[in-house]
Amino acid sequence: MDQTLVSDASFSSSPILETLGEEILRILYPVSFCMFLVVLLVSALISSDNSSMSFSSIASIAYSESSSDSFWSKLSGAFLNSLLFIAVITILTFFLVLLFYLRCTPCLKSYMAFSSFVVLSFLGGEISLLLLSRFVVPIDAFSFLLLLFNFSVVGTLSVFLAKAPISLTQGYLVIIGVLVAYWFTLLPEWTTWALLISMALYDLAAVLLPVGPLRLLVELAISRDEEIPALVYEARPVDTQASGRRLWRERRNFEGNPGSVSDTLRHENLTPQTTMTITVEASDEDSASTELVAPLVSQQPRRQEIEAVEGIGLGSSGAIKLGLGDFIFYSVLVGRAALYDFMTVYACYLAIVAGLGVTLLLLAFYRKALPALPVSIAFGVLFYVLTRELLEVFVVQCSVNLLISGERKRAR
C-alpha cells in the first residue's frame, strides 16, 4: 500500500537511479580521459623500434636496458632501477613532510610552482614539438614560444591559485598528468613494469604503515586542519544544480560571504566539505605540491549529517580527491600496454577502473586516507599478463575461425 502511495507521489522525488554513483563518475571521467590522451600520444609518437634512442633519467641510472640482455639481467637491472627510484622518492617525501612540519609553506609553494611550470613548459614544449614534426604543422618559432609561455603560465597559476575556475584547474591537472605519464612510458619496458609494481608497494607502505611519510603528512594535515600540500585532483561538481540539491542536507552556515562575488559562487559550487577544506578556502591558503604521489582521500562530512549508505558505499557525498600521482601511474600502465597492442589497452583500462572502484568502496567503508595505487596496479598488471598470454591467442584463433584462416597450409 505504501509502495503505491510512494510511487504515485514519486514525481516530486527523483528515483534513485538518477543520482546514484555520480561522485564516482566524476572521478572516473578525468581518469579515463587522461588514459585516453596518453594512449593517443603513445600511439602517435612512439614507434616500436625506438631502442636507438637511449633515454636516461633518474629512473634508469643504475641499469640501462637493451633488448639483447638475458632475462635475469633484465629483471635484476629493472628492480635495481626501481629500488633506486623508490629510495629517491622516499627521501624527497620525508623532506617534504619535514618542510610541512616546520610550516615552511613558501618553500612548498615555490617548489610546486616551479615543478608545474617546468612540466608544462619544458615537457609540454618537447611533446608539442614532437607532435608538430609528426603531423607537419606549419608554425613559426616565435608564435610557438608565445603560445607555450602563455599556456604554462596560465597552467601554473590555475593549479595553485584557489580562485581559478574549477574546470581550468582540473583541465590543467589532467594535462600535467598526461605529460608526466608520457615521459614515464619512454622508459625501457622491464624498468617500467618494475617501477609500477614498486610504486604500488611503496604507496601501500607509505600510507598504511605508521611510519610512512604519506601517513604522517595526512595526520599532520588533519591535526592542524590544513589542506594537504599536493597536486591533487578534486572532483567537485561543475554544475550548480547538482550541488544545490545536496546543499540542503548540509546544514552548514553558508551565508554567502558578502565579500566578492566569486567567493559566494565558490561556496555554492562546493559539495559538502569538511571544516578542513572550508578553513583553507577562507584563509586563502594555496595548496603547494609535493612529490607526485598522494593518497586517495575522501572529504567526508561529519557522520550525523549524512545518511549512512554502508550497503553500497556509493552514496558518500564528499568530494573525492585523487592524487595526481595516481593519474600518472595509471596512465603509464595503460601507455605501456599500448606499446604492445590495443587489446591489452582495453583489458588494462577495465582492470584499472575496477581497481579504482574497489578502492573507492574501501574508502567508503574505512573512511580514511587510502592508497589508490596498489589495487589498480595489481589488477592492471594481472590483466596485462593474462591478456597477453591467454586472451590474444584465443581471440585471434576465433576471429580467424569466424572468417576462415588465410594461413591454412594447403598443398599447392
Binding site: 546514484l20 564516482i24 545518511e307 550497503g311 597492442d341 583489458a347 572502484g357 591467454l390 572468417l403
Partner: protein, 242 residues
C-alpha cells in the same frame, strides 16, 4: 586503409552501442557503472575461457570438429556465466531497494530494472565487439587492407565489424530478455537466449566453407534482428501489463 577507414570499421561495429550509450546510459551514472562492471565481468569470463583452451590452441588442423567443440563449450560457459550475472543482479536489486527505502525514495520501477538489464547486456556486447573486432583493427588504420582467402568479397575488417555488430545487438537485447525471463520465470524467455546464442555461434561455422560468408554473415544479421523483434514484443507486453 586510412584513419578514416579504420574509424569507419570501428563505428560499424560500435555505432549502435555508442548511440544507446549516449541516449540512455550516459544520463544515469549508475548505468555507466553497471556497463563498466558488466564489461569487466564478461572480459573475465573470456579470459577464463581462453585460459581453459590455451593448452589446445593454436588449432593446427582445420578439422571441423575442433571448432565445433570450441564454440559449443564457449557458448555454454557464457550462458552459465549469465546465470551468475543474474544472481549478482538480484543481490544488487535488493541493496538498491533497501537504499531507496532508507532514503525514502521510490523503489526500482520496471523501466529501471530493464535499463539495468540493458546496461548489463550492452557491457556484454561491448566486451565482445571490443575484443573480437576493435583490438584487431589496428592494422586498418594504416595504409593497406587485408582479405582472407575464403571470403574475398570484402576486406577482413569489414566482415569482422559486421559480425561484431550482429553479436553486439544480440548480446545487448538478450540480456534484457534473460533478466525478464528469470524475473517472471517464463520458460520461453529463459530458453530463447541460450538457443539464439548457440544458433548464431554455430552459424559462424558456415564461414568456414569457401564463399560461405556470403550466406553466414546475412544469417547472423537476421538472427540479431530476430532477437530485437523478440525483445520488442516482450517489452511491449510487459509495459502494457503494468
Amino acid at each position: 586503409m586510412t584513419v578514416a577507414a579504420g574509424l569507419g570499421y570501428a563505428l560499424i561495429a560500435l555505432g549502435p552501442a555508442l548511440s544507446i550509450f549516449v541516449s540512455v546510459i550516459a544520463k544515469k551514472p549508475f548505468l555507466v557503472l553497471t556497463l563498466l562492471s558488466s564489461t569487466l565481468f564478461w572480459l573475465v569470463s573470456l579470459i577464463l575461457l581462453s585460459g581453459a583452451w590455451r593448452a589446445f590452441l593454436p588449432i593446427k588442423s582445420s578439422a571441423l570438429w575442433t571448432y565445433v567443440i570450441v564454440i559449443v563449450t564457449s557458448v555454454s560457459f557464457q550462458e552459465g556465466v549469465r546465470l551468475v550475472f543474474w544472481k549478482l543482479y538480484k543481490k544488487l536489486e535488493e541493496m538498491l531497494n533497501a537504499f531507496a527505502d532508507r532514503t525514502s525514495k521510490p523503489r526500482l520501477f520496471l523501466t529501471d530494472k530493464m535499463q539495468i538489464g540493458l546496461a548489463g547486456g550492452l557491457g556484454h556486447g561491448v566486451a565482445h565487439a571490443v575484443f573480437f573486432c576493435l583490438s584487431l583493427l589496428t592494422p586498418a588504420f594504416g595504409g593497406a587492407t587485408y582479405y582472407v582467402e575464403r571470403c574475398s568479397h570484402m576486406p577482413f575488417f569489414l566482415i569482422s565489424a559486421i559480425i561484431s555488430l550482429a553479436f553486439l545487438l544480440m548480446h545487448t537485447f538478450s540480456m534484457v530478455i534473460a533478466f525478464n525471463g528469470y524475473a517472471e520465470s517464463r520458460k520461453s524467455d529463459q530458453l530463447f537466449v541460450p538457443i539464439i546464442h548457440m544458433v548464431a555461434a554455430i552459424m559462424t561455422l558456415i564461414n568456414l566453407a569457401p564463399g560461405g560468408c556470403a550466406i553466414g554473415v546475412p544469417l547472423l544479421c537476421i538472427s540479431a534482428a530476430v532477437t530485437l523483434q523478440y525483445c520488442w514484443m516482450m517489452v511491449c507486453r510487459r509495459l502494457r501489463e503494468n
